[in-house]
Symmetry: C2
Subunit: 149 residues, 2 copies
């Protein structure tokens, strides 16, 4: 996982300033045990550290982090984007198992579609750069306690 030093170097190298709000948002993302936070989750935590931080700033910082590949965004069909710090820069994205009963999101490490990508390039002339996979179903816990919801 990326650390504070690497983070500030990346910002500087790309010509961006290392500002208070950027540091705070980075800390929130890297230190929070909550995963897949949305902008307002991040804002709430950020305000605990820097009470005068504005919502617009959080959106702008998250967009910048995404552009710099520090973060990537995730759509869980709940009307807002969610954000995740990238673990590494090897270009391999992980995917998500989403429980339709309790809403829990689990991560799936496998690199799923390599063979398929080659096939697509051959047959369709479409060069694959990235893929996102969401898998919906029922998690182990909800299978055992169907009455929970």
């Amino acid at each position: 996982m990326i650390n504070t030093n690497e983070f500030s170097n990346i910002l500087k190298d790309m010509g961006y300033k290392l500002t208070e709000p950027r540091k705070v948002v980075f800390d929130v993302l890297s230190q929070s045990r909550m995963t897949h936070m949305n902008a307002s989750d991040v804002l709430k935590r950020a305000k605990e550290i820097k009470p005068d931080i504005g919502a617009a700033t959080v959106y702008r910082v998250l967009a910048l982090f995404e552009k710099l590949d520090l973060v990537y965004s995730l759509d869980l069909d709940d009307g807002c984007s969610r954000y995740e710090l990238r673990r590494s820069f090897d270009g391999h994205r992980h995917h998500h198992l989403i429980c339709e009963s309790c809403g829990k999101v689990m991560e799936l490490k496998e690199d799923l579609l390599e063979k398929l990508e080659i096939e697509i390039e051959k047959t369709k002339g479409f060069v694959v750069k990235d893929h996102r996979v969401k898998i919906y179903g029922t998690c182990k816990k909800c299978r055992k306690n169907p009455g929970m919801l």
Copy 2:
């Protein structure tokens, strides 16, 4: 592909009324050559047939169709939902190739993840009900004309 008769039967069977706006939206979805229409595309076409139809109605009808599995929704990361009539009721969804250069969306028929689903159930106890795959890259045409955009 589902036809008008089947459509009205499904509505009735589920206890919903066969209304003008529902017929119009169904016709728009099934007759338009535009695929992956968003709500305002649908509204525009629907108004050509029934000029007094309201936006809220279109949203309500699309949500109903989705609930009835007549339609499913698609997120192309452009800030609105897009809708597609289901081709069949076999539960198999198709997936999408999205060109990052020209925005074109192509469909991919393959049923991608069957083996993986079995693996997930075994190792994680997570019962898979559905999956959505989006593949990003560059289409054949844009590869040949890199200057287009």
